[in-house]
């Protein structure tokens, strides 16, 4: 167990002592190290100006550089990792991503640019950027107020997947540092990274008020926006068991700390509805850090994974020093931002049955902006039909409609036993008003939430007509490119 935070920054080992464990990587870079290339545009994960890359070795695509928001990344979460900032890219010459962006005039004021460069840097070494939408997905976490993005898109397209030989490729092929446990203390604050369950549950017993942290994409906001100084934080990232992602007996078993980028990758083939929901979840930087455990345990009424997991009939596996227990997801959210977890208990994994081929499953997220936005309404819908073509099972989950993610019992009742038709869905959609009394807020009005929820239910039949588990439709193209304007 180490008492100092150790990681590699731009190829050099660093040892951190004497700083609060809730110091963000961004503040450490700018204030302590005077590496001011990395910028702060918001300190809430939403602009990308602070983007740096962290090497991740365990993803389904092999080792890669992962763009992350340094403004939300607590310094101890870098423990045992390799971090690169914009300053690392240039040696005798600029890196190809820098040449590409400058040649495309992808910077005007330049304030977003270091972050843009680091997202492009991840893209440069990714091997799976084989579609236009994936490039947008890669870059959507970097807001640029000046360029209008066209040159950024052009430059990214040009360098994506090119993996130039050299020192960075060598970083990916080397083994990297081995993870070490950490017990970091500073004044009244403590940050632990246990590497075994025994250690974990010991710490949780010692500090009953300890907060768990994984990606810190929710918890980090408490630090940067509310200036909470947590007395004791426990990261789960040192427990390999929690990072497992596997398919067993037609069930997808998702470890609590699996990041959402990797989950999306695996789900594209194994569980399209979940992939569909993940496509417009946060941005690449967020997905590279955020975990399913954090998303569910945060228990936000607008958390995006709950509705689709409700529809799929997933179960949560909780673990404590007493062992494991299984909680159906519909019973997991017990109140506004409250879960069924007991003190000392963690979410260990999510057990999600894969839908049978003929089940109709849809996943929808409606927000003001398609990318990197919080849902006004999110929905997961699931129906099975019997041999007579009548609905035999219906699970309709919604987010944004109530104080917790919840199933629409009356809509489900209106579907069950009915013939699977557009009319059935339209009729059932009326029941949304009896299931939920959504609220007005700055994202949208109650009217909008209700209407969209109804329209999504009404449109579910049409949406699953061609394929029972549709992927997201491709980005539509201009009308003349369609022969004769056919949809």
């Amino acid at each position: 167990m180490q008492g100092a935070i150790q990681f590699e920054l731009n190829g050099e080992p660093v040892v951190v002592e004497g700083l609060s464990p809730t110091t963000t990587l961004l503040n450490y870079l700018r204030d302590t190290r005077r590496l001011v290339g990395t910028k702060e545009g918001c300190a809430e994960g939403d602009c990308g100006a602070c983007t740096v890359v962290v090497v991740e070795r365990g993803g389904p695509q092999g080792p890669g550089f992962r763009a992350v928001n340094s403004c939300l990344l607590l310094l101890p979460l870098c423990h045992g990792k390799q971090v690169f900032t914009v300053e690392a890219l240039r040696d005798s010459d600029y890196h190809p991503v820098q040449h590409a962006l400058v040649a495309a005039l992808g910077s005007q004021c330049g304030y977003c640019t270091p972050g843009v460069i680091m997202s492009m840097f991840e893209a440069c070494y990714r091997t799976d950027l084989d579609a236009g939408w994936k490039l947008d997905d890669q870059m959507c976490g970097n807001l640029c107020r000046c360029t209008g993005y066209r040159p950024i898109r052009d430059a990214t397209t040009q360098i994506a997947g090119t993996r130039p030989p050299g020192r960075f490729l060598k970083v990916l092929s080397s083994t990297g540092p081995t993870p070490q446990a950490l017990d970091y203390r500073h004044q009244q604050q403590r940050f632990s990274v246990p590497t075994s369950f025994t250690e974990l549950f010991d710490v949780l017993r010692e500090c009953p008020d300890a907060r768990l942290v994984c990606g810190a994409t929710d918890l980090g906001l408490d630090v940067t926006k509310k200036h909470v100084t947590f007395a004791s934080l426990v990261s789960l990232h040192g427990l390999p068991e929690l990072a497992k992602l596997e398919v067993r007996d037609n069930h997808l078993l998702i470890g609590a700390t699996v990041n959402l980028a990797d989950l999306e990758d695996v789900c594209t083939t194994t569980c399209p509805p979940l992939a569909r929901m993940l496509r417009f979840f946060g941005a690449r930087q967020i997905k590279n850090r955020a975990t399913i455990g954090g998303n569910l345990c945060n228990a936000s009424p607008i958390g995006d994974l709950a509705p689709v997991l409700l529809a799929l009939g997933a179960r949560v596996v909780a673990r404590s020093h007493r062992g494991e227990r299984v909680i159906p997801i519909a019973e997991f959210f017990v109140g506004y931002r409250q879960t069924a977890l007991e003190p000392g208990e963690i979410l260990a994994r999510v057990d999600c049955p894969l839908p049978p081929k003929n089940a109709r499953v849809g996943a929808y997220k409606v927000s003001r902006r398609r990318e990197l936005d919080i849902s006004a309404v999110a929905a997961g819908m699931y129906v099975e039909l019997d041999d007579a073509g009548l609905v035999s099972c219906a699970r309709i989950g919604f987010g944004g409609m109530a104080a917790t993610p919840a199933r629409a019992a009356n809509v489900e009742a209106a579907l069950i036993g009915q013939p699977w038709t557009a009319e059935t869905c339209t009729r059932a959609s009326q029941a949304v008003t009896t299931d939920f009394q959504p609220i007005d807020d700055h994202r949208s009005s109650a009217w909008f939430r209700r209407k969209v929820a109804q329209n999504l239910v009404a449109g579910f039949y049409a949406d699953t007509l061609d394929s029972p588990q549709p992927n997201l439709p491709d980005r539509p193209v201009s009308t003349l490119l369609h022969a004769g304007g056919q949809p």
């Binding site: 001011v36 910028k39 910077s107 005007q108 898109r153 409606v366 902006r369 969209v452 004769g484």
Partner: protein, 769 residues
């Protein structure tokens, strides 16, 4: 004497002058500057209420909080407490009265942000809340205004309306927009010996910072230098509103005798500073049988927020752009700026022009929806034409109208008509999704409408190795002004870019500058740079002639060489010789725009040196289930004259367009019923992201279009393209119309919710409650 045009970066595609520094992270912004030991930082304690009075304010406990160097309130200010770009009607720190949520009350100065925050929590503060005025309607009811109404009128509106074939009446609103420059407001003030100050500021207006710092500190302007390293975006938000931040830093530096940085985090930036003005419009419009305007009677109200800031000139520009591209035989325009209990709204790319233009454009959409006419044709029919159809409402003649040409070229290249037909077919076959296409022309007047501001200066220094320092009065906020000035300088002196260093803008190099605003940066500064460079070049000419043994007229300065008599010498050698011959190697340049004037009382004059033109064709798809939409394709043809640096201009066109799309679709500032802003960061305030921009985007600059009397035939480009985004509104309305065929009731910004409401209205005839 004529100098033959020589190869230079001018008119050539080229990179941004700071491109590699941006991409390597080397570019320094105010918050990145190395901090001298002892530098203090600040937190601003702000008003929690929109309107009321301070009943008690006690900062003594905060002052003794650990790590605190000073806590400043209005009571401690040495000189004046009044700032504001035109009328000094804004307290730097609130006195007794509170005027908006977020108004600065006290500045906490300390060793760290944490120390400042902890101290701010110790401020003992009580206030008495009064009923605030939170929007235009409430301001009108309370007769709460800034300044006097501004009227522009011509002909007999009533008579024309009475005889009109079609009359439309209604009202229309557009919303606030946050600048969302990626770099928030920042300033760093260094106290120097003898009571002097050096202020690094992220400002579009260093002279105003210098002057206000001097006034508030009660010292002479010679004691203050304001220097701008560069800005991480400005868009108008750092024209007047960077000043307060810089002045606070200077006051704190004077009080503590230590360097002080004031940097607003995103939340404070969005809370304290103002936005694009929301506008409300009431109109009556009359048309002849064919759809030509016969009369337009418009009353516009802007929401100026609590202080006047730039609200009156913004209102003027809105009035000047109600006509957009169209001839209006009879008209009455009345504008008023409302005073409300919100942050003071300010300059923002377009400066009221977009808000004015949008109102008239929506009127034309409504007419075309009512008559079932192609709105593009209706627009072309109304374009300015030959006399008498060439007079703007304020009496200026529209010369050199390029819109008919832009219209026909863009109609052809965008295949507008074929696509409109194809969309009709698409919409017949699609229930849940409808498409639409829209054409938007833009005519935008170039010049500060306050004529005196149209002046600029430059200072060029040549060193004995042939290298050059270029100073000009404009600031670089990403728009590429330095890149353009570098090109002009290289062209005039015949040097290569590597020889020239564009200096950070500073008030000790060029004094009394105007803000870099109104798209005027390169028009004004370009002429000044050209003049300064030409002065030096002409001093070098006889030196070179002697060295090369030929007549001065044969000497050509190009690409770092001086040529003549079949021989050439490096520029550096000629400069070296000039030094030995005791020739001055520095020069200033100065320029003022000739011939512009405007009389506010009569509403008549020639406020603009020329007009910039452009047009866009946009296509969208609307999802009738969720109200979401996608921008499918955009074609833009824009007139920048003969571009100084075409790659930079394309960037301005694209960036401006996308920012306009944000204003019109996804960006919405929301306040609660007490005037507290709810959208104080990018998590809740959504500017466009990469996916909002179509892959199918075709931006062209109008060819063969030099502009006489402007630097190297170019035209201003900063603001006009913003308004091209109105094409998205036209396209959305067209798509929404497809759901029911009624006149479209679409609120702006066209968020999914606004669109879904409009779709419901199409289906049911009623707007949902």
């Amino acid at each position: 004497m004529t100098v033959k045009p020589s190869p230079s970066p001018l008119h050539q595609p080229g990179p941004h002058e700071s491109g590699y520094r941006h991409a390597s992270g080397e570019a320094r912004y105010v918050d990145d500057l190395p901090m001298l030991p002892g530098t203090l930082v600040c937190t601003i304690f702000t008003s929690p209420i929109a309107r009321g009075k301070i009943s008690s304010l006690d900062v003594s406990r905060a002052r003794t909080s650990p790590g605190v160097a000073a806590v400043l309130t209005a009571a401690e200010l040495p000189g004046s407490n009044r700032i504001g770009p035109i009328f000094h009607d804004e307290p730097l720190l609130a006195e007794a009265q509170l005027d908006y949520v977020g108004q600065p009350i006290a500045l906490v100065v300390g060793e760290s942000y944490a120390a400042c925050r902890a101290a701010a929590a110790q401020i003992e503060f009580e206030c008495e809340a009064h009923k605030p005025i939170l929007n235009i309607a409430e301001a009108i009811a309370a007769e709460s205004f800034h300044g006097e109404p501004h009227t522009i009128a011509r002909g007999d509106v009533e008579q024309a309306l009475a005889g009109a074939a079609h009359v439309l009446e209604g009202q229309f609103e557009s919303g606030a927009q946050d600048h969302f420059y990626l770099e928030t407001q920042a300033a760093l003030a260094l106290p120097l010996e003898d009571g002097n100050f050096h202020v690094y500021a992220s400002t579009q207006h260093p002279s105003e910072v210098q002057h206000m710092v001097a006034e508030i500190l009660g010292i002479g302007q010679q004691r203050v230098v304001c220097e701008v390293p560069r800005m991480g975006g400005g868009f108008g938000g750092k024209e007047s509103q960077a000043t307060g931040v810089a002045v606070l830093a200077a006051v704190a530096a004077q009080t503590t005798g230590r360097p002080v940085k004031v940097w607003l985090n995103r939340e404070q930036d969005m809370l304290i500073t103002g936005n694009r003005h929301p506008f409300a419009t009431r109109y009556r419009a009359g048309f002849d049988e064919d759809g030509r305007f016969v009369a337009l009677d418009i009353e516009i109200f802007s929401d100026g927020g609590f202080s006047s800031d730039l609200s009156l000139p913004v209102l003027d520009r809105a009035l000047f752009h109600l006509d957009n591209a169209y001839y209006l035989p009879n008209l009455r325009f009345v504008g008023r700026a409302c005073k409300t209990n919100l942050a003071s709204n300010t300059a923002f790319r377009g400066f009221g022009g977009p808000q004015g233009m949008l109102a008239t454009e929506v009127i034309l959409d409504r007419l075309s929806e009512q008559l079932g006419r192609d709105p593009a044709d209706l627009r072309a029919l109304n374009f300015y034409g030959d006399a008498p159809r060439n007079r703007t409402p304020y009496g200026q003649e529209v010369r050199d109208n390029r819109l008919p040409r832009v219209f026909s070229e863009l109609m052809a290249t965008s295949e507008y008509r074929a696509r409109r037909d194809a969309i009709a077919t698409f919409n017949r076959n699609s229930v849940w999704r409808k498409r639409g296409i829209g054409f938007a022309p833009v005519k935008f007047g170039i010049s500060f409408t306050k004529s005196v501001l149209n002046q600029a200066g430059a200072l060029v220094l040549v060193y004995t190795d042939g290298s050059v320092q270029l100073n000009h009065g404009g600031t670089e906020m990403g728009q590429g002004l330095h890149t353009k000035m570098l090109a002009v300088c290289c062209h005039e002196l015949g040097v290569v870019p590597e020889q020239v260093r564009v200096m950070q803008t500073a008030t000790d190099k060029v004094p009394n500058t105007s803000a870099t605003a109104a798209s005027s940066g390169s028009d004004l500064n370009g002429q000044a740079v050209r003049q300064a460079c030409a002065t030096i070049r002409e001093r070098l000419r006889p030196v070179a002639a002697t060295m090369l043994g030929c007549d001065g007229q044969q000497i050509v300065f190009t690409q770092g060489m001086v040529r003549g008599n079949g021989r050439q010498l490096p520029f550096s050698e000629v400069v070296g010789q000039a030094y030995l011959e005791q020739v001055s190697l520095s020069a200033t340049g100065y320029y003022r725009t000739p011939g512009i004037h405007y009389d506010h009382a009569s509403g008549q004059g020639e406020p603009f040196y020329y007009f910039a033109y452009g047009a866009a064709v946009c296509e969208v798809e609307v999802d009738g289930a969720t109200g979401e939409h996608r921008l499918l394709r955009v074609d833009i043809l824009h007139d920048v004259g003969t571009s100084l640096v075409p790659t930079i201009d394309i960037g301005q066109v694209e960036g401006g367009f996308v920012q306009g799309v944000g204003w019109l679709t996804c960006e919405q500032m929301v306040n609660d019923s007490k005037g507290r802003p709810l959208t104080l960061g990018p998590s809740t305030y959504k500017v466009p992201a990469i996916g909002d921009v179509p892959v199918d985007m075709h931006v062209k600059l109008l060819e063969r279009a030099p502009q006489a009397g402007v630097i190297h035939g170019s035209k201003a480009v900063g603001e006009p393209p913003f308004m091209l985004a109105i094409g998205v509104v036209h396209a959305l309305r067209h798509a929404i119309h497809g759901f029911g065929g009624r006149v479209v009731e679409l609120a702006i910004p066209a968020t999914p919710e606004a669109i879904l409401r409009a779709v419901e209205h199409q289906k049911t005839g009623a707007l949902p409650g």
